[in-house]
Amino acid sequence: MWGDWDLLPLLQLINILLPLGYLLAVLGYFALYVGDPPWGRRSVPRWTRFLAVVHAAYLIMAAATFQHVPVANVWEAFTFIAFAITSVYVILEWRLGSRATGVFLLTPAFVFQVLASAFISHTREVEEILQSSWFGVHVTTALLGFAALAIAGAYGMLYVLLYSSLKGSKVGLVFQRLPDLDTLGRLNWHALVFGWGNLTLAILIGVLWVSGLESRGEIAGNFIYDPKFLSTVVIWALYGACLGGRLLFRWSSRRLAAISVVAFGLMLASSMVIGLFLESFHRFG
């Protein structure tokens, strides 16, 4: 029953099965990368799509059962990140038909899901602010955006790898198995557009929501000076400049790939620095 605890056994079962599902997907994509066996060409992408649907159902059921979007603590956020990476990958694979990069993207999703499944503890006892539907939309778009930008970083890395392999006429596994340079460039571009679009939405929704809360006196302080907000805006601007460069000045895929790797590195570094050394109102659990 929605909103009742009856779904708990099912949620627990899916929580145990999800890492296994991800493991199967990673192994399948690994087989596709190494040997491209015919059995895997359809079944592995189908399995991953099914996994994304099951994961989405799990998150919806968890949200209904615990009455908040399941990102109220780190482990809930981890399973959401795994879902976000997988769903963005599934969309890109469906749009561009490239199966050879799945192993690189689903492996981090698998790691996130293993950690989430091992340590997750859902609770109804979360702050009131985290139960807001604004919060749900803000975090969902933000995590989808960050996942897509992380994927853009991964594709950027693969682009650089293949670029140097092609420049040096090396025909190893990277050359044999990765899609062509043009496809990698397009995957990188699509991931950037999707990620930046979601991040833009997340920032807009977040700003509107927090402004409303501040004006009603429900939270204190000025979010403008929040380090996480500031760093996100800087990163957003950096990616925005990157997209603008492509659209206005026809920047090359190589430049875009390099920038997405650097920007992803900055994104990771800033999150770590803020998480470890600075105070932010963006916190989980």
Binding site: G35, P38, S169, F175, L181, D182, S252, S253, R254
Partner: protein, 434 residues
């Protein structure tokens, strides 16, 4: 009836002998129409003729006589006696003949391991025989099975992966950098033999444009006349460089014709769009320093040959895997082939009916008393005997050594979905569950 393969290939005969036996589609049709196929000793015949092999796949009632007839036909129609010469020709029968054709279809027997063209030639050979009316049940099934085996070997193993010729490697490298070549503009510099070959490969990719430049303008015109595209004069080279995404050079110029400064000017307006340059001339046509330019991918003959050698080694490693795939297909085909005999067909038919009768008796056993079950079994057995009495007698009259007889056996097997050995027989004392 036996399956006979008589042929010559690059493994058995020198090029002079092979060349003498090469037939185009029309030659094959002529030969097939003039042979007395359908009567003893030759009941079916398919001729596979490529630049490296001429092979006759026949179903025969008498090996000696059929071999003789084929040799005489070759001598008469082509004027070459070599097919009967054991020094050049090879003969395989039944399973060995099937295995050989499967290997041929998979490209394992080709000069260029895993090449694709032969698969089309196998299909074409059957189509020719079909047109001439010389293909029958066995050869049709054999060639279909060979095409399927060849396809599977290519799809399931790396036997056809990677380019194994310099010209193809040039196309693959361009595709690896630029993706879909149908959107790319290709410039070929040099209209010699290599230039023509590369042009042909790029033309197959339906590139956005194909431009050929040659010192002799007529040479360039000659290439584009057959492939489509534009011929330009050698003096226009620098302008043409600016309009190309892929440049292939294959001239016999003693010095380089494209320098770094040419390319720097050419790529200025490209805004980082990658450009592929393939220099397959010896000595080089393109200055090696061009490869240092950002977003310019330069491949020379050495790098392409090294890629080809790596691909060739990789394909060779895949041979055992491909052979396994072919053996599975061979087993499958041979089961069907061996099943095309009168007694196994009758046995399979009876076993199939008895199995159905037993299953039905089992299904209804619960409605009968224990003492009646034996009666039920006897009834079902006798019913099967009565039903199959006439068909069995007719099948016994079938002459499997004729194409018509074989077609009847195939029809019986297809109609009743008989496996080659039929369903596993039940143990004599097996009981019906009550």
């Amino acid at each position: 009836m036996q399956l006979l393969l008589l042929g010559v290939s690059h493994h058995s005969a020198p090029v002079s002998v092979r060349d003498a036996l090469v037939m185009d589609g029309e030659d094959v049709l002529n030969l097939l129409s003039q042979l007395d196929v359908g009567c003893e000793p030759l009941t079916e015949l398919v001729v596979l003729s490529t630049c490296n092999r001429t092979e006759f796949y026949a179903t025969v009632t008498n090996l000696q006589e059929a071999g003789q007839a084929l040799c005489e036909a070759c001598e008469h129609h082509l004027g070459v006696p070599h097919l009967g010469d054991p020094e050049y020709a090879f003969i395989h029968r039944d399973e060995a003949a099937v295995r050989h054709l499967f290997h041929v279809a998979a490209g394992l027997d080709s000069l260029m391991l895993g090449e694709h063209q032969v698969l089309g030639q196998v299909r074409e050979a059957l189509a020719m025989a079909d047109r001439a009316g010389t293909a029958g049940v066995l050869t049709t099934r054999l060639f279909h099975a060979a095409a399927k085996a060849g396809n599977r070997a290519r799809n399931e193993t790396g036997i056809s992966r990677g380019a194994v010729s310099v010209a193809l490697a040039a196309v693959r490298m361009a595709r690896k950098v630029l993706g879909d070549l149908s959107k790319q503009r290709v410039l070929i510099v040099g209209a010699g033999e290599t230039g023509r070959l590369v042009s042909r490969h790029f033309a197959k990719e339906h590139t956005a444009s194909l431009t050929v430049i040659n010192r002799t303008f007529a040479g360039a015109q000659d290439v584009v006349a057959s492939l489509g595209g534009t011929a330009r004069r050698f003096e226009e080279l620098e302008t043409a460089l600016q309009d190309a995404d892929v440049i292939v050079t294959a001239t016999s110029s003693p010095e380089t014709i494209i320098g770094r400064d040419h390319l720097e000017r050419a790529i200025r307006g490209r805004r980082g769009q990658p450009m592929v340059i393939v220099d397959i001339a010896s000595p080089r046509d393109v200055e090696p320093a061009v490869g240092k330019l950002t977003d310019v991918f330069l491949y020379d003959l050495d790098s392409l040959e090294s890629i080809v050698a790596q691909n060739r080694r990789a394909r060779e490693k895949e041979i055992p895997k491909a052979q396994k795939v072919l053996e599975r297909e061979l087993t499958h085909f041979m089961e069907w082939y061996r099943g095309l005999q009168v007694q196994p067909t009758i046995r399979a038919l009876r076993l199939s009916f008895e199995e159905i009768a037993l299953q039905e008796a089992e299904r209804h056993a619960k409605h009968f008393h224990q003492s009646e079950i034996e009666l039920l079994q006897r009834y079902s057995r006798e019913l099967v005997n009565r039903l199959l009495h006439h068909p069995t007698a007719r099948i016994k009259q079938v002459d499997r050594y004729t194409s018509d007889g074989m077609a009847k056996l195939v029809a019986v097997r297809d109609l009743f979905q008989l496996a080659s050995e039929g369903p596993a027989p039940r143990r004599p004392g097996s009981k019906i569950a009550s």
